[in-house]
Amino acid sequence: MVALIGLSGCARPVSLGRLIHDPAQQAKLRLGVNSTELSEGMFRTLISWGPRQMAFVELVKKNAQGGLSVAALTDVGSTLYAVQIDPNGAIRVIRKSLPFSDQWLLDGLVAELLILWQRPPANSHLHQLNPDQRALVLQEGQGTKMYVFDRSDRWIEYQRLWRRRSQCHISLEWDSDPLPKLIRVHNSKKHYRVLRERLRRSDGSIDSGAGS
């Protein structure tokens, strides 16, 4: 019964609300995703699948040419993965000690981390989801990407849909820093959840949530 209720919940289509024609507001929200300007980020990551969990540290660094490097390290220092993204968008997996495909890694963990460094597409449309939330929505065939903003235009959520059903839901919790304090990922397609705690603020100071 629980499984049926869960399945029915997952299957519920996500409402895209009402389309709004307001190019100025669309541009303002899009440019408000300001983490794209940050040179680096560091997170304590906890991934859960079924009853199992694993913790590691993820780093993102922007290079002088505008490309990005991403890596995950275990607490004892071994590299779980290292990925290079060139300015032209070409992606290379440099190192990987995880037994799943490069595509799985890039489409999942890496893509979900790098949404912070990628602005919503310019051709996305502005939607009013409810009185408190608006979204930039990009529909490509059966797939949809949604960037949800609160009443104060703060980006609080990202969703990837397929046929209007959520495949991946990411919520962002902010404080005064340009990087979110907490990122929660629920990837219902790949059946995992991720909690990312910011380890280092953009001024270089250390956060206390995951450490001393």
Partner: protein, 259 residues
């Protein structure tokens, strides 16, 4: 097409080797035995002497506590990440391995099973880590070694000894498995002589450019360890206090290795 990973095997292949290597590195010091086929050196007697001296000098210690700094060099990001931690070991098989900054995580072993904790959102959380069973197996093996039982399997590493003229030296552990060698080229244990033989630095070389160096900055032999050191994360502060209480006389000056 997306591939749903087999997570338990993921843990066996990625997490466990890292732990295995590190824990072997940390715990096997002084109790490894050179086999004829596994040793490559120009002076076998000096190599044997180094291992023997190391083994004998550690034999009188039932409990060891080490405070370390770990520096991870990652060439791709052009960064060196530093963390601090401590290791407690008590014969026959109790282990506490804790990272204390900038993140906090803890691994406890009681001779039967491994418990893996992380400090997240302001509190300790016990993880159901899929690699725990494998790590526990390694610990059991190490416990046997610590008690002088060398019949346990030592096929994981080829051991190369590089003794110096002064009686000190370096012991290299080279993974025999091709799979493990994909992730770790070599583990180097730096052995110093004074005041007695001990490992003061461990270098784990992942590739020609990436490596992790653990420097054992402070070592306490047969200390009175805090209650529940091997049982709970709550004794973290007391464990850290042990090193402060011991004072500067126990602090080691260890030179950084050449990359």
């Amino acid at each position: 097409m997306d591939i749903v990973p087999s997570y338990p095997s993921c843990a066996k292949r990625s997490v466990a080797p890292a732990w295995c290597c590190l824990l072997v590195t940390l715990l096997v010091v002084g109790i490894v035995r050179v086999t004829q086929g596994g040793t490559e050196n120009t002076d076998t007697s000096r190599s044997e002497a180094l291992l023997s001296s190391l083994r004998q000098s550690r034999a009188s210690y039932d409990t060891v506590a080490v405070y370390f700094t770990q520096r991870k060099r990652l060439a791709l990001l052009d960064v060196t990440l530093e963390s601090k931690g401590m290791i407690f070991f008590q014969r026959p098989h109790w282990v506490r391995y804790e990272i204390i900054a900038p993140i906090q995580s803890l691994l406890l072993y009681n001779g039967k099973k491994v418990q893996n904790y992380v400090f997240s959102q302001g509190q300790w959380k016990l993880l159901r880590s899929p690699g725990a069973a494998v790590v526990g197996k390694v610990f059991r093996q190490l416990g046997s070694w610590m008690q002088g039982d060398f019949s346990a399997d030592q096929k994981m590493f080829e051991i190369k000894v590089h003794p110096s003229e002064q009686g000190e030296g370096r012991i290299d552990l080279i993974p025999r498995s091709d799979t493990l060698r994909e992730f770790i080229q070599r583990i180097e244990l730096n052995v110093e002589k004074a005041p007695d033989y001990r490992v003061n630095r461990v270098t784990i070389r992942e590739s020609d450019t990436d490596h992790t160096v653990m420097v054992f900055e402070q070592e306490l032999n047969n200390p009175d360890i805090p209650q529940d050191t091997f049982k709970t994360p709550d004794s973290s502060a007391a464990c850290q206090g042990l090193f402060r209480k011991a004072g500067d006389s126990t602090v080691n000056k260890v030179e950084e290795p050449t990359p």
